[in-house]
């Protein structure tokens, strides 16, 4: 029996359609992640990036030293061999190798930075959804009103404002050390939640606001549009005809359907952000995965680049899976 046949046989033994769906999706996700790693390898080898052996050896190094380093890190082996060794280590031990530049285990480095990235991403996500939901509902229920126009204007402004620029503006206005109106936090003030929850919260307020601004406007617009369309459908009219309160109609019947398409987008965005919010982490000097990725790229540190790409891909794949499962919860018509 071939592997595909074996896999099919395993699948057929799973009785729950949802579980069968999840297993199938995870298998495909694994292949997708391998493809992503392969593409990263390809880009690293084909584009004119720096020579890691030379960087590791330094400027006055002898050719013998460079050659020895190349051998030590396996950089003298063919492309496909290096790829195979890497994939094997990842699959068997989830070993992401050692950084060429710092000689530190990449997995540990990423895991130590993950809480910072998760803090930034989750906090911003909660903030933008907390803004987008009520504002979206408000604009849907009062189309072409002042509030609707204000949301449209704000959305345009924040979507047009680059995150890095917005971050700098916030720092120069409100950071406690260099702000014109010193209020809170600043660059380099991040403290882990486990060390000091209050300082953690204060250090992340500005990054959350910066990251949430653009997303909140966009999501408010989308929620508003979807809800407006939903509220014009026959089943909503029927619900109203039954004498159900308007509040119940909006929340139970309108919003639930209007949120379905948002779930996919939100999951994708959150998954993407969990893999590292590069610009926000950079401008606010938060030691997360995003900043690690930037350093890795600057130092031509392939294992570190691979590690951050891998984590990013895993988060996105998982987020999409969660979104697909949530579909069934939000929309009873969806079956697996």
């Amino acid at each position: 029996m071939g592997s595909a046949g074996l896999f099919g046989s395993v699948l057929s033994r799973i009785r729950s359609p949802l579980l069968r769906y999840v297993v199938r999706r995870l298998a495909w996700s694994g292949l997708l992640i391998i493809l992503v790693i392969f593409l990263t390898f390809l880009v690293f080898y084909q584009l004119p990036s720096a020579d890691p052996a030379q960087l590791r050896a330094g400027r006055l190094a002898t050719p013998e030293l460079v050659a020895e380093i190349r051998e030590k890190f396996g950089l003298d082996r063919p492309f496909y061999e290096q790829f195979w060794i890497y994939i094997r280590s990842v699959v068997t031990d989830f070993d992401l190798g050692y950084s060429y530049y710092k000689n530190l285990p990449v997995r540990e480095e990423i895991l130590s930075r993950l809480p910072a990235s998760i803090s930034v991403a989750l906090g911003a996500f909660i903030l933008w959804m907390a803004i987008a939901l009520p504002v979206g509902i408000l604009t849907a229920l009062r189309p072409r009103s002042r509030s609707d126009r204000a949301v449209t204007g704000a959305t345009l402004f924040f979507l047009s404002a680059p995150t890095y620029w917005l971050g700098l503006v916030m720092l120069f206005l409100f950071a406690s050390d260099i702000g014109r109106f010193p209020l809170i936090g600043g660059a380099g003030t991040y403290v882990p939640l486990s060390v000091d929850p209050k300082a953690w919260f204060e250090s992340l307020i500005l990054p959350w606001i910066v990251l949430a601004c653009g997303f909140a406007g966009l999501y408010a617009r989308m929620i508003g549009e979807n809800l407006r369309e939903t509220m014009a459908t026959d089943y909503v009219r029927t619900a109203r005809a039954k004498g159900i309160s308007e509040r119940r109609v909006v929340i139970r019947h309108g919003l639930r359907a209007a949120l379905s398409p948002i779930v996919t987008l939100a999951a994708l965005d959150l998954g993407f952000l969990l893999g590292g919010t590069i610009l926000v982490e950079t401008v606010f000097n938060i030691p997360g995965v995003g900043r690690y990725a930037v350093d890795a790229i600057q130092n031509a540190d392939l294992p570190a680049i691979q590690g951050t790409v891998l984590f990013g891909a895993i988060f996105i794949v998982l987020a999409i899976l969660v979104a697909d499962i949530l579909y069934a919860v939000l929309d009873p018509r969806v079956r697996y």
């Binding site: 400027r59 190094a61 020895e68 720092l171 260099i178 380099g188 350093d295």
Partner: protein
Amino acid sequence: MIFPRKRHAILAVAAMAGIALLVASSGTGAGEQRKKGGTLILLSAGDVDYVDPGQAYYSFSFQVLKPVHRALYTIPADVLTAVPDVAAGPPKLSNGGKTVTVKIRKGIRYSPPLNREVVAADVKYAIERAFALSLANSYAVAYFGVLAGSPAKPPKTPKPISGITTPDKYTIVFKLKRPNGAFVDALVMPMTSPVPKEYAAKYDNKTSTDYGFHQVATGPYMLANDSKGNVKGVGYTPGKLIKLVRNPNWDAKTDFRPAYLDGAEIREGFTDSTVASRTILNGGADFNADFGPPPAIIKQVLSTAKYKDNMYGWPLGTTYVGLNTKKAPFDNINVRRAATFVLDRNAMRLALGGAITGPIATHFIGPDFSGKGFEAAGGFEFNPFPSPNFTGSVAKAKAELRKAGYANGTYTGPAVTAVVSNIPTAINQGKILAASLAKIGIKVNLKAVTTDAMYTKFCGTPKNQPELCPSVGWLPDFKDPVTLLYVTFSGKFIPETGNVNWPQLDDPKITAAMEKAQLIGNAKARYTAWGKIDRMITLTAGAIPLQWTNTLNLVSDRVVVAKMKDVQGQVDLAYTSLK
């Protein structure tokens, strides 16, 4: 040492023109009482390369490690000339300069958890380990390869070197393959800092050493560690924080450093130089470590009275355009001379930030080598390719091209390629170079890549090297011209990869003169010889000198800015105090 990447990048984006260099006052008299205590805060964009003194080769790393690991000799911030540090006195040369004997100072002790006294065998091991692949030290062979018995091919782990012996507990003897004047100067390098073999060997014998994460210190400060000596996550969190604290075993009687501070914190990751600079000016931190202030901050500082003592500059290193002497058309000296004559070097400097970024260089040994080769090279007077205000001379360039066989003084050959760093002002400099060369018919195709790619894939790899490398430069490792000129212009050093002789200059007369100069034991005579070599190199026009660069530093109001400028252009933490 090549220009620090971050600092060079920042300097390259400066856009200030015609502003005089502000040099901070350094008028503190000898014996002045300064306040003791306090923690200094430095901000950095990136991280040190290593915290192991046997591996570090980056000016930022040297700044952090200098007050932690005492080398055999050091260049203190107040005299800027080498003095004995772990050594008890000057080195004694014998056997025609082939034997160097150094006595070790008694009473220096390692920090916890080791706590024992430093002995000569520790210096021997420190140098031996630097040759091992597990450390992959960048400069060991270049400066210490002259040691008898030193390995040509790096051993995987540290191995004894027969040319280093320790006849007694406090004496170390170096036997050289041949006399070498610069060897004594190189004893200031951090790889001569003692390392205890019985403690470090278990780390050094790994594929890649992690002694740096378990290190013991000899200086007034140490990287904070736990009771087992672990530094990682305590005193050093890569990419985040470096924390220096007092070394409890440091005895001021064995040292000349004042060491006023209780410690220092280096906060990393401040990649936005404007934010970091403002934090320093507002008193949220005290110094910039690996980046320079951006143009807007320079302008603000120079135009604001209250900031007059918050910035200072320090001359250091030389930048130049490398012309590939192995490729047409620059394999012809007259074409190279034409390019040197026609280049608008004033515009090149304006692209970097103008006068504040340093004087226009006319040869390679700069004014920071005053008394050590600068005057012998002709000082500010030696300018073999003059033009009005350094704006370039088309007439002289055309005359050179006619000598090269181009009848009407205009180049008619194929276009050439220039690979530049992809930072904005390096690209601008590339454009200025292209515009200058276009005046004599040389069309330049610009290719912008990352700084590291430029060095490792193009300009440092002879088979891929383009005709022009306009974004190169060199910093001295110590105060001997050999560190500026030898590996960068000697025909002996043109490896297949990692080449830093960017012109690929292979002039037998120059190479021979360099080999001869290295044998000169008398420092003054040696500097004079290197000065003459500098003139010879300049006249080949293999590289067009651009600037004797200034590094710019910001300092907060709470710091006493006196006697603390290090030879690498940065503050020496052991000489810094707070108000």
